[in-house]
């Protein structure tokens, strides 16, 4: 299989905690930005200009480089009506696409179910981190959670190599199918075998990997390198999910926000350099979102929970540019001091699901929402 003919894949990078949209894509020429941000603002001369009105915050240089190559779509004003301004409720809404009731199934898990209805690949969807975000949780859909690819596996606490080999051999025999077993036992055995097969398959990824790209030393860069390794190993994974935290900058934002974006930007830059080196850029779309933006007016040292945010789509197949309009920051246009979302976040998923992965978006995001044209044909 040549890399250019691979199936399209999605890398979701969740900016957990509520990224300060107004301080990420900055209307640097708008006097309201200066008025609203007496303390929590970036100096105009450090902002990386996109056009005469908007600029990226100073540490997004590596993303701006990709932007200048036409590979970054910035989608303005994402959200939904009546933001609860609660991290957990809002994240839940982004994960389940259910703003009006408590949803149980995650959109990305539904995508995995559609892509692999017969559960032929235990690695169709992988979270890189501990446990599963609700976005990936759908009953009966196998998903793996890899906190650290280097140490991923079964019974890793048995350190002696030959003892561990014996333990794994024992595990595979204990979980092999039997004749005349009960349903529950058969189910346990097949699931255990899946888990072991998954761990076993994934193990080849770091072994096969070679690259001249040096990833920076940050948690998000490690996850992105793990993602690159698994992707290059051709294991059939279509959804890669990971997150970086915490963007919950109530206090000390001018220290934490630049550091967060430095890690994210440099990690993304290394990841796409790695894809380029492996001639795999065309098959990957990376998608960034946060559960909400933050209050327009700062609180002296940080910003509080808000509403509208920005989403980013990055990749060789992305038609770069600005999409939609940044919501107005005029006092009369704000709701409870927040930018009002003017683009339904489910529209962004719809483009990904329908135009990139080729699935019907409606049952996955729970309706039909406006799609923006940010993919190359």
């Amino acid at each position: 299989m040549t890399s250019t003919k691979k199936d399209p894949v999605v890398v979701v990078l969740q900016l957990t905690g509520g990224n300060d949209y107004y301080n990420t894509i900055i209307p640097y020429n708008d006097p309201l930005y200066q008025d609203n941000r007496p303390n929590v603002k970036y100096p105009t001369d450090e902002i990386i200009k996109i056009n005469d009105n908007l600029g990226m915050m100073p540490n997004m240089g590596p993303i701006k480089e990709l932007y200048d190559q036409g590979k970054v779509a910035i989608i303005h004003g994402a959200g939904y009506a009546d933001s609860p301004r609660s991290h957990f409720r809002s994240m839940d809404i982004w994960h389940t696409c259910e703003p009006d009731k408590v949803g149980t199934e995650g959109w990305a898990g539904r995508v995995a179910r559609e892509l692999d209805p017969n559960k032929e690949n235990v690695l169709t969807a992988i979270n890189f981190g501990h446990g599963l975000p609700r976005a990936l949780a759908v009953p009966g859909v196998p998903v793996a959670a890899i906190a650290d690819l280097g140490t991923y596996g079964l019974l890793t606490s048995i350190s002696d190599t030959s003892q561990r080999a014996k333990a794994l051999d024992l595990f595979s025999r204990m979980y092999s199918p039997t004749i005349g077993g009960t349903f529950v036992n058969d189910y346990l055995r097949s699931t255990g075998t899946d888990a072991m097969v998954g761990a076993d398959i994934v193990k080849v990824a770091p072994e096969q990997y070679s690259s001249t790209v040096e990833y920076p030393n940050s948690p998000i860069a490690s996850h992105l390198r793990d993602i690159a390794q698994v992707y290059f190993a051709d294991l059939g994974t279509r959804i890669f999910y990971t997150q970086h935290a915490s963007f919950d900058t109530h206090a000390g934002e001018m220290a934490s926000h630049p550091a967060l974006w430095k890690d994210v930007s440099e990690g993304i830059s290394a990841f796409f350099a790695d894809l380029k080196e492996h001639d795999s850029g065309e098959n990957v779309v990376m998608y960034l979102f946060s559960e909400f933006g933050r209050r327009v007016h700062d609180n002296g040292s940080g910003t509080d929970h808000g509403a509208a945010g920005a989403m980013f789509a990055i990749g060789d197949s992305v038609k770069g540019g600005l999409y939609g309009e940044m919501p107005s920051a005029k006092a009369e246009d704000l709701e409870q001091g927040d930018l009002v979302p003017n683009y339904d976040f489910r529209g962004g998923y719809s483009t990904l699901v329908e135009d990139w992965l080729g699935l019907d978006a409606n049952p996955i995001v729970g309706g039909t929402f406006e799609k923006l044209d940010w993919l190359k044909k």
């Binding site: 609860p84 301004r85 609660s86 991290h87 957990f88 409720r89 839940d92 408590v102 949803g103 149980t104 235990v122 501990h130 446990g131 599963l132 609700r134 949780a137 009953p139 009966g140 859909v141 196998p142 998903v143 793996a144 959670a145 079964l154 019974l155 890793t156 606490s157 048995i158 002696d160 003892q163 014996k166 333990a167 024992l170 595990f171 025999r173 204990m174 979980y175 039997t178 349903f183 529950v184 036992n185 189910y187 346990l188 055995r189 699931t191 255990g192 899946d194 888990a195 998954g198 761990a199 509080d304 409870q336």
Partner: protein, 466 residues
């Protein structure tokens, strides 16, 4: 019964009515007898519900009022599960959390959720009628099911419906009219203060009855007629035969053996109709007293025979393992992480996926969660530095455990008198034989060998059951 069989039965009781017991606890309980242990569980004499909360708060102040952050709220409860001296109280709180499933995803207020759990500790072993009254007045529940939006002139049916469908009778035992009338009876049952979260944050909620917002008109509910208020609705609900069946089936599924999932209960007969009858009779005859019902259940043959017939929930795996290895009965570093461990296995406590709670049994198992369970147990029982593992190693040494067969049998006992299929037993034994006898002249390698054997027991399919 032999002493070993007594211990095995006691391990079963302590696993179901709590979070397991080590050898010392099992011996103490066997010495006082099975029925006396059931009584002790039902009427604990220990005052302290769990560990040293004063010390905990000194190190982790967020334990007390975690606010919207679930992690310290979850850690708070896990700490109580691991360190409790009143295990059944903690277990019944977990049971009612499964039934009256209330989630932080919407409530966004772990302070209030922990208050609900505390209410389960206080009322969960008493009168079921009183418990329903308490949950109807519980602020987290009122907010979760929108009863604060249930007004005399604008009825919101969310709470009224779930009270009937999920908390008492089960579907198909009432009409849509009953739902409406039930909801009307709970108008005016709300929370105070009704201040918005923004801009100043959370206020502690308390129950408030607003008479002027209550619909005091006549209602027709389940064939009865009157100007019912909430408590009178609860009186009617409790006495429905469907309610006793529904609650007893939940208890059977949680404490005895895995049932089919709740939505199938209207179609599928119970796993053991005779057992369910016994439980229902005890419940009804005692005027819906939880203690009487639990006593009947724990002392019945169907309970004693139901060893390893349900898949452990993630909370049980985590709390049981930590208790066994002697971790976190004090505020050790890293304790804030223990609340996340069940989440990694698919059970985010204080945050169930919906008001229907968690699906149990095989639904706990998928390739990700099974890997997490096996590794979680192995990482701890194979760590010979942990006090509980040390105790097991010392016990094996003083018992003179030497041959592979003795090693496997002792490991099974210390992991809770685990029962294996002949096939698995044979495989474990073969594996142990390939490394020969334990060499006690080198205590370190002997300890590592024992830790690995405990980990392998924890990795069996059988160990996923409790």
């Amino acid at each position: 019964m032999s002493h070993k069989e007594d211990l095995a039965l006691m391990a079963h009781l302590l696993r179901r009515a709590g979070f397991g017991g080590n050898r010392e606890e099992l011996e103490r309980c066997v010495a006082q007898g099975y029925d006396a242990t059931v009584e002790e569980l039902l009427n604990p004499t220990e005052e302290q519900p769990g560990g040293n909360m004063a010390l905990m708060l000194r190190y982790h102040p967020s334990f007390l009022l975690p606010g919207g952050t679930p992690f310290s709220g979850q850690a708070n409860w896990m700490y109580n599960m691991v360190s409790t001296k009143r295990p059944l109280e903690e277990k019944i709180a977990l049971f009612w959390h499964h039934v009256f499933a209330t989630g932080n995803s919407k409530v966004d207020n772990c302070d209030q959720l922990l208050e609900q759990i505390q209410m389960f500790r206080e009322y969960g072993l008493g009168s079921y009628r009183e418990l329903l009254v308490q949950i109807s007045k519980n602020p987290a529940m009122i907010f979760w099911l929108d009863n604060n939006e249930n007004h005399r002139d604008a009825v919101n049916e969310n709470w009224g419906r779930e009270l009937l469908e999920l908390f008492s009778m089960g579907v198909s035992n009432y009409t849509e009219v009953d739902v409406r009338e039930c909801s009307r009876a709970f108008t005016g049952w709300t929370i105070a203060p009704k201040l918005p979260r923004l801009p100043y944050g959370r206020y502690p909620w308390k129950f408030e009855y607003k008479e002027e917002d209550h619909d005091e008109g006549e209602k027709v509910f389940l064939g009865e007629q009157g100007e019912f208020n909430g408590e009178e609705i609860i009186d009617i609900v409790v006495q429905q035969p469907a309610t006793a069946r529904f609650i007893c089936r939940h208890l059977y599924n949680f404490f005895v053996a895995d049932e089919v999932q709740v939505p199938a209960w209207t179609i599928e007969p119970a796993r053991d109709e005779e057992a369910l009858d016994t439980m229902m009779n005890a419940f009804i005859d005692s005027n819906y007293d939880m203690k009487t019902l639990l006593r009947t259940m724990f002392t019945s043959e169907f309970f004693k025979e139901a060893r390893f017939s349900k898949i452990k929930s993630p909370a049980e795996v985590v709390a049981g393992t930590l208790k066994m290895v002697g971790l976190y009965d004090s505020p050790d570093p890293g304790i804030l992480n223990i609340g996340k461990e069940p989440t990694y296995m698919g059970q985010s406590i204080l945050d169930p996926p919906s008001v229907e709670g968690w699906q149990t049994g095989t639904e706990w198992i998928n390739s990700g969660s099974l890997l997490a369970r096996v590794n979680f147990v192995a990482d701890r029982v194979a760590n010979t530095q942990l006090p509980g593992v040390q105790t097991i190693i010392n016990q094996m040494q003083s018992d003179g455990i030497t041959t592979p067969e003795e090693l496997v049998n002792a490991a099974l006992e210390h992991m809770g008198f685990v029962e294996l299929s002949d096939e698995t037993k044979e495989q474990l034994l073969e594996n142990a034989q390939s490394s020969g006898n334990i060499d006690w002249s080198n205590p370190d390698t002997a300890g590592v060998r024992i830790g690995e054997t405990l980990a392998l027991v924890g990795a069996t399919t059988e160990y996923q059951f409790g």
